[in-house]
Each structure stands twice: as C-alpha cells, then as structure tokens.
Symmetry: C2
Amino acid sequence: MSSFEGANQTAVERMMSTRPMLVGLARASDVVPGLSREILLHAGPPIEWQQASGPLRGALIGALILEGLATGEDEAVSLMERGQIELSPCHHHGVVGPMAGVTSSSMAVYIIEDAAVEDAAIEVAESPARAFSTLNEGYGKVLRYGAYAPEVLERLAWMNSEMADVLSAALDEHGPLDLRNLLAEALHMGDEGHNRNKSGSLLYLKSLAPSIVRVAGSEAAARTIDFLAGNALSVLNPVMAACKLMADRAHGVEGSSLVSAMARNGTDFGIRVSGLGERWFTAPAQVPDGVYFAGFGSADANPDIGDSTITETAGIGAFAMAAAPAIVGFIGGTADEALNATLEMYEITAAEHDYFTIPALGFRGSPVGIDLRRVVELGLTPRVNTGIAHRDAGVGQIGAGLVRPPMSIFEQALEAFAERYLNDTTLEED
Amino acid sequence: MSSFEGANQTAVERMMSTRPMLVGLARASDVVPGLSREILLHAGPPIEWQQASGPLRGALIGALILEGLATGEDEAVSLMERGQIELSPCHHHGVVGPMAGVTSSSMAVYIIEDAAVEDAAIEVAESPARAFSTLNEGYGKVLRYGAYAPEVLERLAWMNSEMADVLSAALDEHGPLDLRNLLAEALHMGDEGHNRNKSGSLLYLKSLAPSIVRVAGSEAAARTIDFLAGNALSVLNPVMAACKLMADRAHGVEGSSLVSAMARNGTDFGIRVSGLGERWFTAPAQVPDGVYFAGFGSADANPDIGDSTITETAGIGAFAMAAAPAIVGFIGGTADEALNATLEMYEITAAEHDYFTIPALGFRGSPVGIDLRRVVELGLTPRVNTGIAHRDAGVGQIGAGLVRPPMSIFEQALEAFAERYLNDTTLEED
C-alpha cells in the first residue's frame, strides 16, 4: 500500500468510526464559533452578495428580517449591497444547512458531538469537536428555498422558540441520540439519508415523542409532535450535521486525497480535500436533472445549491440509492438505476462503510470516502441527489433530481495535490 | 377467459378494492358477533382443548385468568377439560389474531371497516362488514406465544383499559385511519407487512401521536406513546384485520378457486376457498425453518400457529418479501432469496396488486389471490413468514422463520372444487 492509500485509509476509518450524537439544542450565537448578529452563514463555498443567486438572496433577505436587522426586502437588500452584513460559509463554522443554508444568530441549532472521542477509541484530530444545523422547516414555501413571506418567517419564529425549547427539554430528558445508529436503521427502511429521510424522521419522532410528552405542556407537545410527524425531512438537518462531523474527522490527514466536503452556494460547487487544508476548489454549479412540480421546468431552475452534499461525502445519499428504490418516484429514474448508482460509486471510493449497510446488496457497506484521484482517473464524478430551487428569490422548491459536480474541481484539486505532495519525500507515489 | 378465471378476477378485484379503515376500538364482547364470556376465540381452523398445542393452551389459560374465570393454571385447565368453555375460531367471528390468537370477551379490539362500501364503488358481498383484532403486546413473554405469567396479564390488563381508552379517544379525534394507504407506504419503507412491520408501526404512531397528546392526560399519553414507540409490531394486528376484511370480500364468489383464508391453530393448518363456502381444508401444521434465539432449536419449536397468514392471503407478508430485504436478518436467508420469494409467488396468484407495489421490482404490484388450481398444478405451495413459538405452554417466542402449508390441503380443496363445479353446467372448465 502506498502512503497515499494509507493516508486515505486513515481518513476513511476516522470518518466511519465517528459516532455522532445529537446532544442538545441552543441559540446559534451561543454555540457556533465566530457567529454574531452581523454575520450570516450560507451553504457552499465562500460567496459575496453580488454573485449570490435568487434563492440564496431570498434566504438572506428573510434572515435579516427574522433577526430584526431589516424591516423588509428593500432595507435588507440595501444592507447587503452596502456590505454591512458579512457572509461566511456554514462549513467554516462547523455548521451545515440544506439548500440556501442560511443560519443567523438567533436561530436554534442542533448540537452534534462525537461519542467516539469519549470512548477514547480514536485519536482526536484537530477538526472541530462539534457540528451544528438549524431545524428543518418542512416542504413548500420555506426559507432554505429562498422564500421569505410572512408565514415563512412566522413559522421560523415559532420553530426557534417553542419548538426548539420543547426539543431541547425532550433531548435533555431522553439523553444523547445516536445518529449513526438511526441512519444505519433508516437505510434498512428505504431511506438514502439525503432526499429520502422518511423512515429516519419517523425514528427520530419515535425516539423523542415520549420525552416530548413528559416535558412539555399538552398544547406545545401536540404542536411539536404534529410538526415533526408532518415533516418527512425532520431528521435531515441533524443527519447533515452528523455527516459534517464524520467528514470533518476525515479532514486534515496528511497525504490523503479523500474529499472531506462537497457544497454548493447556488452559484459555485466547491470541494475540500483532506490533505489540502482549508482551500476550496470551485467551479460553476450545474442545474440538476430531475422531476419538476407541475408548471415548472429546467428553465426555472437555479443551479445546484446546499450543503446537503455532505451526505454523499459521508457515504449516504446518492451513494446509498440502492437502499432506497422508492426514491425514484420523487427524483426520477428506475429502481435498477438506483441500484446501479450505488454500484458505480464503489469505483471512486476508498471503503465500504462499516455501519451503513445496504440490504438489497446483501448488506454490503455503502461506498464511502471519495478519492479524487479515482474521480479524475475514471472520469467519474460523484452522484448527488438534490432538491431544485426556483432561480428567483421568494419562490421555493420546484422539483428534485440528480446532479453531478463539475469535473474541473476535481482536476484542480488533483493538480494542487500533486504540487503539494509530489516532491514530498516522506510520501511515496503509488 | 373461462368462467373460473372470471370468478377469480371478480374475487381478487373485490379483495384489492376493499379500503380497510381503522375506525375505532371497543370491548370485544360489545362488537364481535357471537362472542360471550364463556367463549374463547383462537387462531386457525376449529380445534378442541384435547388437540391444542402448548402455546395455544398457555394462551387459553392466560385468558381465563385475565377474565377472572379461573384463579390459576389448575383451575383453568380443569374448566377446559370439563368442557365449560367453548372454543371457536377467530375467523368465524370476523376476528384474526397473531400466534395463539386468543381473544376473550373483555379484551379491547380494533374495529376495521370498509370505506369502499361507503364509496359505493363496489358491490357489497354477503361477507362481514367489519373485522377485528386485539392490541399487539410487543415482544418477549406475551400471551400470543402462550406465556401467562403475572406480568403478561398485568400488561394485558393495562392495554385493555388505559391504552385502549387512549387509542379510542385518539382515533375519534383523528378520524378513520386508512390502513391500505399505510400498508402501501410501509411496503416502500422496507416492510413486508407480516414479520416486518417496523415502518408501518412508525407510520401508525405518527398518525395517532398528535391526537393522543391532545386527548389524553400527560402520563397516560406518555405511557401509550412509549408502548407504541417501543413495539415494532404495534400495527401488525390492525394490519391483519385489514387483510381479513380484504380476504373476506373475496370470499363467497361462485366458481372462484382463490384461497380466502389461511390459518393455523398450532396443530393444524387450514384454508378456505372463495367458491367453497365455510368449509376448512386442514392437515397437520409443520415446524418452520428459521433462525432460533440463543439456546433454542427446532426440537423446542411448536408447529406453525396463528392467523397472521391472512397477510399472505391478501398479497403481502412473504408474498412481498422483495420489498423487505432487511428482513433476512430476522428470519434467515439472503436478499436475493427475498426477491425470489416474491417472484415465485407470481406463479400461483391471480393478479398483481393495484395498491401494494414493490419498488425493487420497478413498482410491480405484489402477487395477490392464491389460486389453488395453480398451487396443485405447479406443486408450489404459498410461502409464509412466521414467528416460532416454544412447544410448551408459558415459554414464548424462540425464533422466526419461513414455513409452507402442507400440499395436501390444496389437493383436498381442489378435489372438493372439482366435485362442486365439474358438473355445474353454468360454468365452463378452462
């Protein structure tokens, strides 16, 4: 085994041995490093307002109104144009967010910690010890798709107050929730963990419902349980943060060519590589191929957006499509294509997951640890399942489908990898 | 198409077009036709105490103590031996019960009705308009596996009082629950609806939890939600009653060779046929092939028992194994064998289900409507997934596996079918 292979095995073992636990909730500015009232976090690699697409702009406008920093759209836009609000990628703060991913100071966030660190079974890397994500808003007109109508902000205000308080108290009563176990079980129940989190969301509800009833008043408990029960994506955000923690553990391994983050800001698709530090490799994001809601088509679609590709980075999502044949009703394609999607991803990954297994493949571990060397060598980019946002601010979701990152970002990264390591005599080329 | 084929199509269409709704709960003796305090209902075809196997005897003893008809095992056995308690098959009363299936007068039962009747879309057969089932007790030491220790009866007493009251009030608040929709969704979430009802039970919990919180006091709501959340079989019993309603709708079609009931009493396996009236065709039940819990083996196993084969009769369970590859971890076999189990059952069935579809087979309808002519012609008996009970009274479950009914019951039935119809000039032979 070459030293690169060894580094990749170290990285992927770290990723798999991470045991993400949902331990609680808090106000974002109280726990997220470097977040303050004048900073808005967003999905994907770094971007400025001038380059931001419609749905990201819509979500930023909504967050400014939610925070009381602007009274309406015009004021919000003016604040952004005058540069009075700093934009920063979620990923730089241990956060991940679906679609626009906008996270602001007063929002409630889930806190995910690594139980494996306490088990002392793994060597702790210098990567962050925690990951965070906001609460999932459900379907329809929602901030993450760029909608900011009054009902969107009212729902968010309720989620960040009563619902977050109920969930926080329930989690305290319940104790930490093992998200790796939850995901492993959900993959045996027809989920792939990214676009399809139906079973995982029910497992999440099942785990917390008894505690919710015990800790909350009847009305608040009923509203919270109603909301969770009605949202088949309720567990998506904590799952994403769990994947972020796993991927972060794989980051920073000297000589590793594994991809440790994939994320889109609606304009650019970016990746980071374990052995290449904090640098993003980016190129314009593509419009997904997918199934559109009635009345919409690809001309209405925004380029790919969101941090949710952290699921594929961690070996689930499109990589575990074979576990979720029913998803094709939502994103298009056939059951055979779903099976083949997973089989194809084994070609570009370093391992088969120890914990995430796929019944239909004889319980084979899902493909995990994207090796950028293989991506370039085989000309095969990772598959990604995704939602599709309308290109204009304020509209929302118009479909769901499949997308692949541009090959050029892997080529750039491989070039940087070669520059960084080719003359490093401590590592052998393989 | 011969008249027999036409009759079978009529029968299977009636089965599929039935829309079973869970409408409420009641005390068994208030709603189950012909049930009184001195009658105990049991799974399978008719049987007397003298022929009853250990787990059925254990469940009958437990029911007599629960009803206050006996103070302990000796008194219960004496009552049974003196013939003071009448035994009657669940199936004769519109009831179905898993394993021993013992249903007594004071037990709470789910009430399932056919919404398609109200829709007036189908012609109502003379078959019963409702079906019933008790509440599922969960795993471990439970009455349905023949256990009757004090904790078993205490749990039952609670289920039949507080839990039933809470569920009843919650269902009233919620309104009728569409079990056909629930099952169709669960089959897309890795269930097969018989041995694996993990997703279905979560869908059931999700549907009722908000109402439970609204109608019940905090403690009673928490206990009920805890119990439902901890039992991956909670929806099995209403699902069985739904299947019973569907199968009953297919019963009584002149000239139909479709099997309208399959059931075991722990001694005999019996079937009924749509065009052959109320007669049971029986032969000794077999011991399942399966996976045993640590410390147990096939020598400890009771022959096959329970009404739960009503699921296979209605086109789910082992017939929908291809939807549930993860089940092989519980009952043995491989994912490929699970796929092949479903493919095999298309050989002996009259239709592909309109509503129960299997994503992994490109959303093909599950095989439904067992044609006894094909069973005999091809020498291929229906597959059945099942739990395995210890042969002694009072022990409980010791494994799970696969079983097939004896071929001789289909041969007997075909003989009776030929006798009944061969000289009937209103029907052509095909």
